[in-house]
């Protein structure tokens, strides 16, 4: 029987949602392809993590060793490429996360298998494998096929598939060892560092007014700030604003910033890249102001204003102040 591999991602003792999402998709594919679903769990003292997925895979292969406590792409690569050689899985799924983006390309070269990254769907049609992805900042979708191969590696975008369980499985647990001393590690983990906290916590805000690269210049941020003040809301932003040092990191919304849950989120000059949208999936109502009618943000927003923010935002602010004074 053919096999599907899912590489379990976990950090600081916690299983990452991307693992459940991959297991969901792999579970679905295992049905259509009549394959066995094998989760590969590498780490130290990971039994509680194995328990969390024991009803989502047919087999869990565990490598447990003190030396595997921290993620290391080279060690993962050696272990997984050996497993791939032994079992020849049709598909190996890895999260398109910071760690996965380091591991997957190395593994692809090492194992000699084709790789497509950041997939948002996997379609198996008449024995052909199609990976669906996005290009050009999410403005274009693409269906990608592969050169003939024994197996394929795909990395999966976070937040696309459900975290639910699919199907009914009972995993057989297989403990394995790997001769770690054979691998010379030339990258040493030192520590984790957290983003410094600020004077406001955007995760607690009821109303966020968020500014993006469409603002053009640092000084222009004032007009969005004034809108936020008029509304008694909190100012937040997209990543490029932080990259340019125009606003502090703790105000950044998105995968590498904060996930927020305001009642209302107003996005000003933000295109709606998926890393940004991932941070606002818990927002109540999303309102977008953008001059590009094709901006991806309009696909997920509840209300949209297509136009120049410099024409709209000041008028909106004045009107709000007027209403407030009158009321």
């Amino acid at each position: 029987m053919s096999e599907l591999f899912v590489i379990v991602e976990h950090r600081l003792g916690e299983i990452r949602d991307i693992t459940f999402e991959m297991l969901w998709k792999a579970g679905e594919l295992a049905e259509t392809l009549s394959s066995n679903l094998t989760a590969i769990l590498i780490g130290h003292e990971v039994n509680s993590i194995a328990e969390k997925i024991s009803d989502r895979a047919d087999k869990i292969i565990i490598f447990d060793d003190e030396g595997l406590k921290n993620f290391n792409a080279d060690i993962y690569k050696e272990i997984i490429s050996r497993l791939i050689e032994e079992s020849k899985p049709t598909l190996t799924l890895i999260g398109n996360t910071s760690w996965g983006m380091e591991l997957a390309p190395c593994l692809s070269i090492r194992a000699g298998l084709p790789l497509a990254t950041d997939c948002i769907d996997i379609i198996s049609k008449n024995g052909n494998l199609i990976a669906q992805r996005q290009m050009y900042s999410g403005k274009i979708f693409a269906n990608v096929s592969f050169a003939e191969s024994d197996g394929y590696i795909l990395t999966i975008r976070s937040g696309i598939f459900p975290t639910d369980r699919i199907g009914d499985r009972q995993a057989q647990i297989v403990q394995k060892d790997f001769p770690l001393k054979d691998i010379t590690v030339k990258k040493n983990f030192i520590e984790f560092v957290e983003t410094a906290a600020g004077d406001v916590d955007i995760t607690q805000a009821e109303l966020l007014i968020s500014v993006g690269r469409g603002i053009g210049e640092e000084d222009n941020i004032t007009i969005v700030k004034e809108l936020a003040e008029a509304l008694n809301g909190i100012l937040s932003c997209s990543r490029p604003i932080v990259d340019k040092n125009w606003l502090p990191k703790y105000l950044q919304v998105g995968t590498s910033g904060k996930s927020v849950t305001p009642k209302v989120y107003i996005a000003v000059g933000i295109s709606g890249a998926f890393q940004h949208l991932a941070g606002i999936s818990g927002a109540g109502t999303v309102i977008a102001i953008n001059k590009d009618p094709k901006a991806p943000i309009f696909r997920t927003a509840d209300y949209g204003i297509v136009g120049d923010l410099f024409k709209i935002v000041p008028v909106l602010k004045d009107k709000i102040l007027e209403v407030k004074k009158g009321g």
């Binding site: 950090r11 910071s98 760690w99 983006m101 380091e102 997957a104 390309p105 190395c106 070269i109 084709p114 790789l115 497509a116 990254t117 950041d118 990976a131 992805r133 996005q134 050009y136 900042s137 999410g138 403005k139 274009i140 979708f141 269906n143 990608v144 096929s145 050169a147 990258k187 040493n188 983990f189 030192i190 984790f192 957290e194 983003t195 109303l207 690269r213 509304l231 990543r239 490029p240 340019k244 040092n245 590498s256 904060k258 009642k263 209302v264 295109s271 109502t285 999303v286 309102i287 001059k291 309009f298 696909r299 209300y303 949209g304 136009g307 709209i312 009107k319 709000i320 209403v323 009321g327």
Partner: protein, 260 residues
């Protein structure tokens, strides 16, 4: 410290209305403005900063056609010492696997302590050329670097993880690092600066001269179809002049309970 930076010329699509090309596997790029991939801009800046601190050389490399040289000229103007273009008229026939093969082949003959690429390219969003090169060259690597220091011939790197967490590592050189946006503030490049840099060495290498086998030049991934995003219900668009839009928006904000 000798540093190699791989950079790509990409179309700016932020406000563009994109159309699918006749072949159906890419977009029409004729009317688009091209420029350096945002991530690569941070990569070249980081290389030049290190050179300014420790001395050494910076070499910028791209695979592309003559138009793509603009990216290299920009890198030279920012402070790179020399540039190499591997001539390829239409790089869309290559995938990241092939590009990484080509770049690795060229880099193998050069002296380097560090290789930088951007985390990913804005156009295809694959984000795999860098790490494929690291494996190809069998050198150390770290991903998504947001801070970098050199300590006793080693690189102390901070890799960005999800949720704002950073992972600090110590890596022996030579190493390949993929550079994340925000690591520095890329310097401004003037037209004059680009003109001045025209004197610097810009070498062109013909692909066949690299002696890469056809097998290695055949892509592992093939775009079968590119298409515009499927229709969704989408946002309810508020129309009218700014006055009317503002009144409508205020009603919505009141209804949602965030304005009195």
């Amino acid at each position: 410290m000798d540093i190699i930076v791989c950079a790509k010329n990409v179309p700016d699509v932020a406000e563009a209305d994109l159309n699918i090309s006749d072949k159906g596997t890419d977009i029409d790029k004729e009317d688009l403005v091209f420029g350096i991939n945002d991530w690569d801009n941070y990569a070249i800046e980081e290389a030049v900063l290190l050179k300014e601190k420790y001395g050494g050389t910076v070499t910028a490399i791209t695979v592309g056609n003559e138009d793509d040289e603009e990216v290299l000229r920009r890198c030279l103007a920012m402070g790179a010492d020399r540039a190499i273009r591997i001539e390829a008229d239409d790089i869309s026939r290559f995938d990241s696997f092939v590009i990484s093969k080509i770049l690795s082949r060229v880099v193998k003959d050069l002296q380097f302590d560090l290789i930088f690429t951007g985390v990913l390219a804005e156009d295809d969003y694959y984000g795999m050329v860098g790490m494929m090169m690291a494996e190809e060259l069998n050198i150390n690597h770290a991903n998504m670097i947001t801070a970098l220091e050199i300590e006793d011939g080693k690189a102390r790197t901070t890799s960005e993880l999800e949720g704002g967490l950073g992972e600090v590592s110590l890596i022996e050189l030579p190493a390949l690092l993929t550079i994340q946006t925000g690591i520095n503030e890329p310097r401004y490049v003037s037209i004059l600066g680009i003109r001045k840099a025209a004197k610097k060495e810009l070498k062109t290498i013909e692909l066949p001269d690299l002696g890469i086998s056809d097998e290695e030049l055949s892509p592992r991934t093939i775009i079968e179809e590119a298409f515009l995003p499927p229709e969704t219900e989408g946002a309810e668009i508020l129309a009218g002049d700014p006055d009317k839009i503002s009144s409508d928006l205020i009603e919505i904000l009141k209804k949602k309970g965030v304005m009195e």
